[in-house]
């Protein structure tokens, strides 16, 4: 089985976000980067499936050279090789075209992604790639088993979950508790240094959206404290002042 896991290189969840260049670029100074948390779940399950059934697991990132520490980390966790499409992602469609191009050339049985990236939070790259390749995509997937070319998986739906079965090839957007995050061990870190990381040029795509500017949310006003003995006052304020009841 050939598995592709698509990972993002994103600011750590606790990072403070600010912008530069007239609010058109993320200020990367002092920002700690991580593998997207949902992508990390996809990677963890991908590695487990590969270990069960044999086969190859490739990680893919569309991003500049800054992403390489995260790609190496994925190799240390258990990916066999890696591809980096050397480009600053402009939008989801651009990313999807790059992933689809790599997938067409190499033919994967299973493509695992995160349910969403935590920089753009779109939750759409899996659907876009699915349509570009003409194969089904499902998200968010919280349980996955593969047996005899068939996937059995559970997907979160509004207020519950749904169990499904489908033939490979498939694209799945993953979330917990599909697997436990894996931490690279010493041997993994050593072998990761020599695993192949191929850098490829992006394919040209049409420009469908253009970023105009970034901005930060307005500062939050002070919290109005209500003494516990007067908890009932809260209900009145929610009605008359906040007007949410």
């Amino acid at each position: 089985m050939k598995i592709l896991v698509c990972i993002t290189n994103v600011p750590d969840t606790t990072a403070r976000i600010s912008f530069t260049d007239g609010d058109t670029k993320l200020n990367k100074a002092g920002v700690q980067y991580i593998i997207g948390p949902y992508d990390d779940y996809a990677l963890a399950r991908g590695v487990e499936l590969k270990e069960q059934s044999g086969g190859m697991l490739t990680v893919l990132n569309v991003g500049p050279a800054d992403s390489e520490p995260q790609i190496r980390k994925a190799l240390a966790i258990g990916a066999d090789d890696a591809i980096r499409v050397d480009a600053e992602p402009v939008d989801s469609f651009f990313v999807a075209e790059q992933i689809a191009h790599v997938a067409r050339q190499n033919g994967y049985d299973l493509i695992l992604m995160g349910r969403e990236s935590i920089d753009f939070n779109s939750g759409i790259v899996h659907g876009l790639v699915g349509e570009l390749l003409g194969i089904p995509s499902f998200s968010p997937v919280m349980k996955l088993d593969i047996e005899g070319g068939k996937a059995r998986f559970a997907r979160e739906i509004d207020g519950g979950k749904e169990y499904l079965e489908a033939d490979l090839p498939l694209i799945l957007g993953c979330q917990e508790p599909i697997a436990e995050w894996k931490i690279p061990n010493m041997r993994g870190i050593m072998t990761a240094r020599t695993k192949p990381l191929q850098v490829v040029e992006p394919v040209p795509t049409e420009e469908l959206t253009v970023l105009q500017k970034y901005e930060l949310p307005p500062a939050k006003g002070a919290c109005r404290m209500i003494p516990a003995e007067e908890a009932e006052t809260l209900i009145r304020l929610l009605k008359t002042e906040a007007k949410v009841l």
Partner: protein, 320 residues
């Protein structure tokens, strides 16, 4: 611009998030000159669907093929693409959700449409067509120009104010054509929390953290939620410990919600939890620790014991 709105229904009734999608579509149509058509898939009662008119839809296309009763992004996207063709729509609006994003994405790839997921405001249509969206899990916004002829927008809750008016949409039968490719997965089972109000649809959410001390202590929180007509949520450790079901888990790695009112009970307010609630209009925090970080993100705060405060709030609501 003619606008098509993708409806999500629950037992044939238009979900609140989809009512917002219609209202959003109606605002776009009225700013740019055009009408709004809504698309309903699967079971649905014509008189319920006609209520789309109250939020600004002129017409509802209803495809009642029973195969559409199950959420299926492939078939739904096919139907949506065909409805875009049939109505000549250039703007498509959906509510942001798992299925909404999946349908939006697949339709966008087919139509070569510009797609934005997570819009928080109406688009600016003076001159071009740009829309503001939430990024970095609520920590920032991006304004994006949508250049392609067809534009698909998945909106976040509270992106627009809904004012229901008198009105009834004409419901027309719609018969999209499907191929084998549209039905490639078999649903083998499902688990759904019966009549519970869904978190993404709820206007009010009462949510509990580890400060609730154990699953057996949830009743005061549930009582408050019931008194308010609210949905219940929880922090990640609470669902990890199986005190509450996984689908109630809110935050960075769980569901992102944006209700009018979010009441956090015994939740510390870790940044990963805040990431799931920072779109809420009003946040109330009840925590016995005055230093809990959640107070910094709150509009109203009570420093106190949840087991004392919650019953008093419930009583105050019941007494009107």
């Amino acid at each position: 611009m003619s606008v098509l709105v993708f409806l999500e229904t629950d037992k044939g009734i238009i979900k609140k998030t989809s009512q917002e999608a219609i209202a959003y579509g109606a605002a776009v149509a009225s700013a740019t000159g055009g009408t709004v058509t809504a698309l309903a898939l699967g079971e649905g009662d014509a008189s319920e669907l006609a209520k789309a008119g109250r939020f600004g839809a002129a017409k509802v296309l209803h495809a009642a093929d029973p195969r559409l009763n199950q959420e299926n992004s492939l078939a739904y996207a096919s139907a949506l693409v065909q409805a875009v063709g049939a109505t000549g729509s250039t703007v498509v609006i959906l509510a942001k959700s798992g299925i909404g994003d999946a349908v939006a994405a697949r339709a966008a790839a087919r139509l070569k449409a510009a797609i934005v997921s997570g819009a928080t405001e109406l688009p600016d249509t003076a001159g071009g067509f740009s829309v503001k969206r939430s990024i970095y899990t609520g920590k920032a916004f991006a304004t994006v120009e949508m250049k392609a002829p067809v534009k698909i927008i998945a909106i976040r809750k509270n992106a627009v104010d809904v004012q229901a008016e008198e009105g009834s949409a004409a419901v027309e039968v719609f018969n999209p054509v499907f191929g084998d490719n549209d039905f490639k997965a078999t649903v083998t089972g499902s688990e759904k929390a019966g009549t519970q109000l869904s978190l993404t649809d709820a206007d009010i959410i009462v949510s509990g953290g580890r400060g609730m001390k154990g699953p057996e202590n949830w009743q005061p929180l549930i009582d408050l939620a019931q008194a308010l007509g609210a949905a219940t949520g929880c922090s990640k450790p609470v669902s990890d410990l199986d005190w509450r079901p996984h689908h109630e888990h809110i935050g960075q790695t769980g569901i992102k919600v944006a209700p009018n009112l979010y009441i956090a009970c015994g939740i510390s307010g870790a940044i990963q939890h805040l990431a799931g609630v920072n779109g809420s209009k009003c946040i109330v925090v009840i925590n016995k620790d005055p230093e809990a970080p959640f107070f910094k993100a709150a509009d109203y705060g009570i420093v106190g014991d949840v087991f004392d405060v919650l019953p008093r709030l419930t009583k105050a609501i019941k007494e009107g």
